[in-house]
Amino acid sequence: MSATTGPLGSGAMPAGSPGASVPAIMDDPLARTRATSLWRDTVSNILRQRSAIVGLVILGILVLAAVFAPIIATHDPNASMLQLHEQGAVKRSPPCIHALGCAADKPEHLLGLDGNFRDVFSRVVFGARVSLGVGFASVFLAIIIGTLIGATAGYAGGWVDNVLMRLMDVILAFPSLLLAIAIVSALGRNLFNALLAIGIVAIPVYARIVRSSVLSLREADFVTASRALGESNRGILLRRILPNSLTPIVVQGTLGIGGAVLEIAALTFVGVAGSLDVAEWGSMISVESQQLLNAPHVILVPGLAITLTVLGFNLLGDGLRDALDPRLNR
């Protein structure tokens, strides 16, 4: 597989060194080809995928927005313009941009105000922090625990494997959002527990991926070789097997973050993930869900933000799968 390109590529270097002192009679063909590394191959493969590029661009903008939220946001996301005694602040007023012909005597708000006189643009920008943060953190959690469980099950086999994988089956048997709602209610309704719940329900997916690749690689020749060389079980698992299951995990993880963003929005929308005052996309929609007729922007804007974020992760995930799947490299 792709892991073998590394050693082969670097093997070109020592072949060239003896020929350095004597004039070369025949060029070493290996020395002339540029050494390709796994990473360079991967990156160029990814950049060949149109969907991956679109996804990367969307996500790049979102990550920048999240990181530099205090600079980008035009207002304090939680400050009510009414309390700031802003002249002419109107509840749920539509977007007003002076450069685009909005009357100069009205206060400028790029995406209007919400029902509490707060700046929608600033709230959406800060909301990117919550969604991306929870998305990354919950998937990271799920990958760590899922990998541990899957690797243990696959490597140990026998009853350990059976017990662990049946447990995973049980978790998978629940519709994930319902299980997440139940877990959040059990642990206490706040954003951190929502993060945990979203992570927990995603564990089986990664456990299954890791287990299946451990099972298929356990008997591979290069693993037998390193066992013969006296490598410890842990070393075989960490250095030989796991790096080879990285590809499906990265692909699934990317798609998983998109799913996690949808789930956190759903949890805050139904109101089990703590206060609705937080600048978070799902709760922004939840609070204003009856206002579609008066002020579509208060729902349209966060709704679009969620859709774009999930779209970004889905496109990148699809692109990664196409780029990393060796069967498609024709």
Binding site: S51, R166, L167, D169, V170, I171, A173, F174, P175, S176, L177, L178, I181, A182, I183, S185, A186, L187, G258, L262, A265, A266, F269, V270, V272, G282, I285, S289, L292, L293, P296, I299, G303, I306, T307, L308, V310, L311, N314, L315
Partner: protein, 358 residues
């Protein structure tokens, strides 16, 4: 084939047991002090001691679990503290809404999704394909409740006075109702399980109204279902369309398809008779997997469209710590999911003989 089905059935047993155990543990954590959760302000130590003894909460947890499993075996899901009625009764009342919504959403997803995916595959890389896949990508990325709110806005508000207007919430218009099957068929003295089944079927309005010929009510119920079914069905639709496309593309590249074309079979026949049959195998699996997604989406759809189904009842039960309802409903939903996956597995074995032999 029988051995294959038997083996799959046996594999389901530990999963079902695990489900029951997990549901039990979860509901006990959610309501760690059921007395106080249920009685609230009125709960004094004395009242609670009495209450716990009556409800069996003073027993050790393993004993409580044993009692619970024993009750389940008799079809008793306990009594809802909020409704003061047996959970099975609440379930018979609320489940039909969700079943109806889920079935229509899935039908919508299949009927639109498969042809869309096939069209995309046949016209690969054409504007039709690109357009369909862009729509599918956006559809799969949009939260159910956002789409639901948009649909409500467009068809319930913007188009309110046009012929395209659709009701934005509820199951029936005011003044219209569907007569229950027992009334129509004059079987009001029926009790027990047959009565439960008939009441359940009566709750599926588009079914019971059609069976009894109440076409006016049927039309009204169907009109109310269109928006929620589209909202709920869009994500599965997008997934089904994408799987159909990639699966059909793979099959179309195979040798036997080339052979069929070479011997002069019409392109239509090649695609429908030769390719699609094999291409639909993975689609069947994916459709089964969508059910979990649909149940989860039903919670959101039901709260967006104001429908008193399982999802909303369950959500309210979790908020109100009505543990009997939580246990019963989650269990039913999870069991339904397991059973559907079993059916998918078996049908997969039926469609593809190679799987049976493994």
């Amino acid at each position: 084939m029988t051995r294959f089905i038997l083996r799959r059935l046996l594999l389901t047993i530990p999963v079902l047991f695990g489900l029951i155990l997990l549901v039990f543990i979860l509901s006990r954590i959610v309501t760690h002090d059921p007395c106080r959760a249920i009685l609230g302000e009125k709960a004094t130590d004395l009242i609670c001691a009495d209450f716990n003894r009556r409800m069996g909460f003073d027993q050790p947890i393993p004993v409580q679990f044993g009692i619970y499993v024993g009750q389940l075996a008799q079809g008793d899901l306990g009594t809802s503290t909020k409704f003061s009625r047996p959970v099975t009764e609440v379930l018979i009342e609320r489940l039909p809404t969700t079943v109806e919504l889920t079935v229509w959403a899935l039908l919508f997803a299949i009927i639109v999704g498969i042809p869309l995916g096939m069209l995309s595959a046949i016209k690969r890389n054409s504007p039709v394909d690109v357009g369909a896949m862009v729509v599918a990508n956006i559809g799969v990325s949009m939260p159910v409740f956002v789409l639901g709110l948009f649909l409500q806005f467009i068809f319930g508000v913007l188009l309110k006075n046009s012929p395209f207007s659709l009701p934005p919430s509820g199951r029936l218009s005011a003044g219209i109702d569907v007569k229950p099957l027992v009334d129509v068929w004059g079987m009001n003295d029926l009790t027990g399980i047959p009565r439960g089944i008939l009441d359940f079927l009566s709750g599926i309005y588009t079914f019971s109204a059609a069976v009894t010929g109440q076409w006016g009510a049927w039309g009204d119920a169907a009109r109310h279902l269109i928006l929620p079914a589209i909202a709920l069905g869009t994500i599965p639709l997008a997934i089904i369309a994408r799987i159909t496309r990639s699966s059909l593309l793979e099959v179309l590249g195979q040798d036997y398809v080339r052979t069929a074309r070479a011997k002069g079979v019409r392109e239509r026949t090649v695609i429908i008779r030769h390719a699609t049959r094999n291409a639909l195998l993975p689609v069947v699996t994916v459709i089964g997997l969508q059910l979990g997604l649909l149940f989860a989406g039903a919670v959101l759809t039901e709260s967006t469209f104001n429908l008193a189904g399982v999802g909303r009842t369950l959500y309210e039960a979790i908020i109100g710590r009505d543990f009997a309802v939580i246990q019963g409903f989650i269990l039913i939903v999870a069991v339904a999911y397991v059973v559907v996956n079993l059916i998918v597995d078996v049908s997969y074995g039926y469609l593809d003989p190679r799987i049976r032999l493994r």
